[in-house]
């Protein structure tokens, strides 16, 4: 309990309140009048309105498309399932720069849709919504699917035996058990899309701006701290409201679930209906996830002299001038992985402790902590980064030029994932199992190890995978927070895209492909580790 709170206070609450304070205080006096001034500006109202409705639309669309996917991943067994699960998670970690480029290639002029049906979606809201679904598909599949695969199908079967129809059985048995996970996933998607930055900037063009984009502009470009502070607070309030609503629904629905080993619940689909469902899910994943990724891969091989590894070779030859810009890509891969590894470790420790504390105790304070830990998702990277600058500047915490800042900022975003993924599972562990262990003479630690750990190991790994993935592709904080010159993969990609010339463009595509490969391989390894030790009941 103490560790997460301290971590949160030092690396989030203090920096953010300092930067907001700097914007709203003049000579130590709070100027709350500024809030009204900013919030009545028509351009700001436009931004608020657009932010809200596009987030709602994106969330609805994501749930609509991804829930069948979650079901298929949880209940069906099909060849290549693990690989596919890793692949659908790849978008989640791709830097927005890359995704924007891929989507333009698909939806823009001369893109695939344009050639087939003369349809162009770039600079429309549709492009933004589709990209959001692309990004968040995995969130739903993994959070909802993770729990779904551990629900005992026999409960539903028992209801059927007792005379409930198929739909009624699902509605009365499975749906209530899934609701917290669905709510959690929907909440996350809403948060992500509400605070969307890169996607909106690239695909929306300058006509669309979200709150996050506006905060970035006011802070980083205009240094208009008062306006930025007000907008940050608005985002805080909005995120707080969402979280509060979420907490209520979760509490109402939570109860002990009977969790089983996922290996027992999935089986080969039988009957045309199930095959059709699986086929539909696979087709969606193919169109939505693989197509944009495929475009990047295709462009990375499409060299000047026809298809080949030209761009990949160029990546190794450091451009001939040996400048500080050109890090060998493998070095960038190494940097990225190192940062991600450290960030994952921090996020797991902080998030794990928080989740444990939240399961053990109830009460207002603890619930407050739950919401607090989610807040970093609703605050822009630039606010946190600039907050670091003005707060972490004195020994013993002069971290402004230290490399650890980057994983710290990434861990802030990773912690909520860890908590969200572990909490539903931890809470669903039947208390009586622990009590039984205690009665049989196990110490609390032993009881936790023997009872909780086997049940939540999978959740821990999923959480770790998420935290790792988030930091791998994390771009915002990595860019804003000054770091000695060892670029991560996303930063290197952005730099290459920021220069003209065929080789640079091609190398950016090649690096993106490498990034995808690294992510997919890392995620696949996680999947492997997970299945090694399951089935210990």
């Amino acid at each position: 309990m103490a560790v997460p709170v301290a971590f949160f206070a030092v690396f989030f609450a203090y920096p953010v309140s300092a930067i907001v304070g700097r914007g709203l205080k003049t000579d130590g006096v709070w100027q709350f009048g500024r809030i009204g001034e900013v919030l009545t500006r028509p351009d700001i109202l436009d931004v608020l309105w657009f932010t809200t409705w596009q987030a709602l639309a994106s969330t609805a669309l994501t749930l609509l498309i991804a829930l069948p996917g979650a079901y298929a991943f949880a209940r069906f067994d099909f060849p290549g399932k693990q690989v596919l699960r890793a692949v659908v998670t790849v978008p989640f970690v791709l830097p927005t720069v890359v995704v924007g480029t891929a989507f333009l290639a698909l939806l823009g002029r001369g893109g695939l849709l344009d050639e087939l049906w003369g349809l162009r979606l770039d600079t429309t809201v549709w492009a933004i919504l589709l990209a959001h679904v692309f990004f968040n598909y995995a969130v739903v599949v993994r959070t909802v699917g993770g729990l779904w695969s551990q629900l005992d199908p026999r409960q539903e079967e028992a209801a059927r035996v007792l005379g409930a129809g198929r739909f009624a059985a699902w509605r009365r048995v499975t749906l209530p058990a899934l609701a917290p996970a669905v709510a959690a996933a929907a909440l996350m998607v809403f948060l992500f899309t509400f605070t969307s930055f890169g996607v909106v900037q690239i695909l929306g063009g300058p006509a669309y701006s979200t709150l996050e984009v506006e905060v970035y502009r006011q802070t980083a470009q205009l240094l208009d701290l008062p306006t930025a502070a007000v907008l940050t607070m608005v985002q805080f309030v909005a995120v707080g409201a969402i979280l509060a609503a979420h907490a209520v629904t979760v509490r109402r629905r939570e109860r002990a679930l009977k969790l089983v080993d996922p290996a027992q619940t999935s089986r080969r689909p039988h009957g045309p209906g199930q095959w059709a469902l699986l086929g539909g899910v696979l087709l969606t994943a193919l169109l939505l996830i693989l197509l944009p990724l495929g475009v990047l891969v295709q462009r990375s091989f499409d060299g000047p002299g026809g298809y080949g590894f030209g761009y990949y070779e160029a990546l190794q030859s450091a451009g001939g001038s040996g400048s500080t810009f050109l890090v060998p890509p493998l070095e960038a891969v190494g940097n990225s992985l190192r940062y991600a590894f450290v960030a994952t470790l921090i996020a797991l420790v902080v998030g794990g402790l928080a989740a444990a504390a939240l399961t053990r105790r109830a009460g207002r304070l603890v619930r407050g902590l739950d919401a607090l830990l989610m807040l970093p998702l609703g605050v822009s990277a630039v606010t946190v980064g600039f907050g670091f600058l003005i707060t972490l500047d004195k020994p013993p915490l002069d971290l402004r030029t230290s490399w650890i800042l980057v994983p710290l900022a990434q861990a802030l975003v990773g912690v909520p994932f860890v908590v969200r993924t572990m909490l539903p599972v931890l809470r669903a562990v039947d208390e009586r199992l622990r009590e039984a262990a205690a009665v049989l003479g196990a110490s609390p630690l032993r009881a936790w190890r023997e009872v909780d750990l086997p049940l939540v190991r999978r959740a821990v790994l999923v959480a770790a995978g998420f935290a790792f993935a988030v930091s791998l592709g994390e771009f915002g904080a990595t860019v804003f927070i000054a770091r000695p010159d060892n670029p991560t993969l996303p930063v290197a990609v952005a730099r290459l895209l920021g220069r003209s010339g065929e080789l640079n463009y091609g190398q950016a595509m090649a690096l993106s492909t490498i990034l995808m490969l690294v992510c997919a391989v890392s995620l696949l390894l996680l999947e492997r580790i997970r299945t090694d030790r399951s089935g210990e009941f």
Binding site: I202, A220, G303, Y312, V382, R499
Partner: protein
């Protein structure tokens, strides 16, 4: 076929190897550098705080170490605007000794905030005329670049149409729906182009000019990457994306770069520069107030305008040297354009009006 397989295997093995290494926690032996080593006075490191586009050859930086005894440590923090604003926030207890990368559109903001200690760098007399200088020498000019409209040579040759050369040309009907530019609110070429139109059309005339440009079908996208790589038909990325806009707001140095990074190198640049549409950007460096290593910082400023560093600038940052005795690389002289009369607006004027100009522009060009 064989080589392809070999490469694929190598790539896969590399990815796997690295991942496994990371998985084993091999992250302590090789921590990224710069974890706050003591940088007291008399320290042998000098820290250069800069934006993400800064580049220099390693050999050149080594040479500085040999000549002066100081090692340069780079600290990059975002784009030019974000990097400068972070310095303003940490005024008084800076993260480094020298800041590079404040340009003339942001110069007043930096000077008004009192970021820099005055220092007259050695060899300042060689700096070209007209690079706006601060009379108190709080900043030292390091490079200049021109933001201009680039055109796709092939398109205009096929159409047997002369490419536009001036701001006035761009609103002519024969160039309807051809130009793509960037958001002036957050893209530096976008802002440069807007300032260029203000310099040429006057503060009273630029709004009318933009209304005409809008009527003539100018497209505004958010950033340079998208405009250049996705919308502009003359760039390598644009050709691949089947882009359909043969005019883009970019830099005078873009054509040589297109040549430099093409394989095989073409005889002629695929793109040209409309020399009458240019706005000149100058980038400055300054010694940060409160720097821990002032002596090192001064040595670094001297070095930034030395012939060695200046001749290294073009191929690393694709801008022009600021001193008159630096030779341009062949690829620039052969494929580049010299811009005779670029438009300029004084830093004070930019600082005073930037917001309202951009707002006015936004309501005309975007909405």
């Amino acid at each position: 076929m064989n080589t392809t397989k070999k490469y694929a295997a190598t790539a896969l093995a590399a990815a796997l190897g690295v991942t496994v290494l990371a998985g084993c926690g091999g992250s302590d032996d090789d921590t990224p550098a710069g974890s706050g080593a003591s940088k007291g006075s008399g320290s042998k490191t000098v820290t250069l705080v800069t934006h993400d586009s800064f580049n220099a050859s390693e050999d050149v930086l080594k040479q500085f170490t040999e000549e002066s005894g100081y090692t340069v440590e780079l600290l990059k923090s975002g784009d030019a605007g974000a990097a400068l604003n972070q310095e303003i926030l940490t005024k008084g207890s800076p993260r480094g000794d020298v800041f590079f990368g404040v340009d003339n559109t942001l110069l007043s903001r930096a000077l008004d905030n009192g970021l820099f200690t005055a220092y007259e760098a050695k060899g300042l007399d060689r700096v070209a005329e007209g690079t706006e200088q601060d009379k108190e020498h709080r900043v030292t000019p390091v490079d200049t670049g021109d933001i201009c409209v680039n055109y796709d040579k092939k398109y205009f040759a096929d159409k047997k149409l002369d490419p536009p050369q001036t701001f006035e040309d761009l609103i002519k009907p024969e160039y309807k729906n051809l130009l793509v530019t960037e958001n002036a609110a957050n893209s530096s070429p976008g802002l440069g182009f807007l300032l260029g139109t203000i310099a040429s059309q006057g503060e009273d005339g630029y709004q009318d000019y933009w209304k005409k440009l809008k009527a003539n079908g100018v497209k505004v996208v958010d950033g340079w990457e998208q405009a250049y790589n996705e919308e502009f038909s003359g760039s390598a990325g644009g050709r691949k994306a089947k882009a359909d806009r043969p005019l883009v707001v970019s830099y005078a140095s873009s054509p040589p770069v297109e040549v430099l990074y093409a394989d095989p190198q073409p005889k002629e640049a695929p793109t040209g520069v409309s020399t009458g549409t240019c706005f000149r950007q100058t980038e400055y460096a300054g010694l940060l107030k409160g720097a821990k290593n002032e002596a090192g910082g001064k040595a670094l400023l001297d070095f930034l305008i030395s012939k060695t560093f200046q001749e290294d600038v073009p191929l690393n940052m694709f801008v022009n040297p600021v001193v008159t005795d630096a030779k341009l690389p062949e690829i620039f002289t052969e494929f580049g354009e010299t811009v005779e009369k670029p438009a300029t607006v004084s830093p004070e004027k930019i600082a005073a009006n930037r917001e309202q100009w951009v707002q006015a522009w936004h309501s005309i060009a975007v909405k």
